[in-house]
């Protein structure tokens, strides 16, 4: 089996290297990917149409907003799937395999004090990353992951039970659903006002300002929705994985 695997891998690698001879040089400005008309349109027209300097956020949340909505749904589905696979309730909990029994640990003083100082700063930084996604690298995903990681740090420093007092299980799933509703809500609001789905230009009726501001503020709203969902699902996946589904005791 291993020999067959090695043979397959070597043949595939050789074929790919043969195909790679035709590639343009790395970094070539006239390569087909770099001189593509659509990319050049994105580079030159983003600020004029949306008044957002960060081109990547503008393409992600405005020009390709439909893809981002379904990506958020994929993350949500993954969180729900993990709960569906692993979650067991009180009467069904089997004792752990004898190899895996984890000794109950006392909270360590140094780790706990350091984390208590660090976690508010991490959360503030996460909010900054979400809000400043228009002008610097960042956006909804990055801020959401950092915020979720701060809750994971809380669960690692103290107990999983303690962290679940701050973020109980059903509230977290509600938050994830609200995030997707915010995103789809922007789309449906555009439909109700007469435009296409996720056409931010027609939202000038609700959002004060001209069309460029409507694009910019809708992008911020949509990124907030994405951040909610990603935060909730990151912590939910961690609590499911680290407690093997019973949510009583983490690693």
């Amino acid at each position: 089996m291993k020999f067959l695997g090695l043979l397959t891998v070597l043949i595939t690698g050789f074929l790919l290297i043969q195909a790679e001879r035709d590639f343009p040089d790395w970094g070539d400005v006239n390569s087909p990917a770099s001189s593509y008309k659509l990319s050049q349109h994105y580079i030159t027209q983003t600020f004029a149409e949306t008044s957002v300097p960060n081109m990547v956020t503008a393409v992600l949340a405005d020009y390709r907003g439909y893809d981002t909505m379904f990506e958020t749904v994929v993350i949500f589905t993954a969180g729900i799937a993990i709960i569906g696979i692993l979650r067991v309730f009180g009467s069904n909990i089997k004792p752990d395999h004898p190899e895996v029994v984890l000794t109950k640990k006392k909270p360590d003083l140094i780790v706990e004090t350091t984390c208590r100082l660090l976690i508010p700063i991490i959360q503030l930084f996460a909010l900054y990353v979400v809000a400043h996604g228009h002008h610097s690298p960042g956006g909804g995903f990055q801020g959401g992951v950092i915020f979720g990681a701060s809750f994971i740090l809380l669960a690692l420093a103290r107990d999983l039970q303690y962290a679940q007092q701050w973020v109980p299980e059903n509230r977290i799933l509600n938050l994830a659903g609200i995030g997707i509703f915010i995103y789809a809500g922007f789309g449906v609001a555009s439909l109700l006002l007469g435009g296409n789905f996720l056409d931010y230009g027609v939202l000038t009726a609700i959002i004060p300002g001209d069309v460029k501001d409507a694009h910019s503020h809708s992008m911020l709203g949509v990124e907030i929705g994405v951040a909610f969902t990603v935060t909730a699902i990151m912590f939910s996946i961690y609590s499911s994985l680290s407690s093997n589904g019973h949510m009583k005791e983490g690693i």
Binding site: T12, W26, A48, L60, A81, D210
Partner: protein, 204 residues
């Protein structure tokens, strides 16, 4: 040294092929389930490396506009309004002349040159008008006011696609790990050959 620089032209692509094959071999041949999942992650990040290498341009900067480009253009926009109006009228006239010249098919050298130059500018104005008309927002100044060279910035389309790929990759890794834990609870082992052995003897 020159040979090494010539090597550096394509080195990125070779390395991505090697890493991708390492990941593929791990997914196919390793017995441990967690090693298979690590191989899957290595494979996914190698693909993302490939795409980001495609989107790279020499001596280009990150795809975020400069502060002075953004705010300097605001003043230029108001100044340009009156200039643009005159420019449009002038090129309208030249467009008409170019169309007449090509319709009549004049063969005189001077007229042909004049018609060529006018046609070129007329094409440029036609392009501008097409982009102008296809979005009926009130931002005329944007087209003429902000002078951005596409070769100065990296390709943002590639970065957007890869953001989605990374996040979907971590979601898939989470689901794979959950299935691994469930298999461990069921069979007591995470080695593939032992699980197959148990299934075979369990079914007999």
């Amino acid at each position: 040294m020159v040979a090494i620089e010539a090597l550096a032209d394509k080195f990125n692509y070779w390395v991505y092929i090697v890493i991708m094959m390492i990941g593929l071999y791990a997914m196919v041949s390793k017995n441990n389930l967690i090693k298979k999942l690590i191989g899957m992650s290595v494979f996914q990040t190698a693909i993302i490396l490939f795409y980001v290498s495609i989107g790279y341009k020499d001596e280009a900067t990150i795809p975020i506009l400069y502060h002075d480009q953004v705010h300097g253009a605001h003043h230029a926009e108001e100044g340009d309004h009156s200039d643009e109006g005159a420019h449009h009228d002038e090129t309208h006239a030249m467009e008409a002349i170019a169309k007449e010249a090509t319709h009549h098919g004049n063969d005189h050298a001077v007229d042909a040159d004049h018609a060529e130059v006018d046609e070129h500018e007329a094409d440029h104005v036609i392009d501008a008008h097409v982009m102008h008309n296809e979005s009926d927002h009130a931002f005329e100044a944007g087209h003429g006011g902000l002078d951005i060279d596409p070769n100065q910035f990296e390709n943002p389309l590639v970065h957007v696609l890869m953001l989605t790929a990374i996040v979907v990759g971590v979601a898939t890794l989470g689901v794979g790990l959950a299935i691994t834990q469930k298999l461990y609870g069921e069979f007591g082992t995470i080695e593939e050959h032992e699980i197959i052995e148990q299934l075979r003897t369990g079914n007999d």
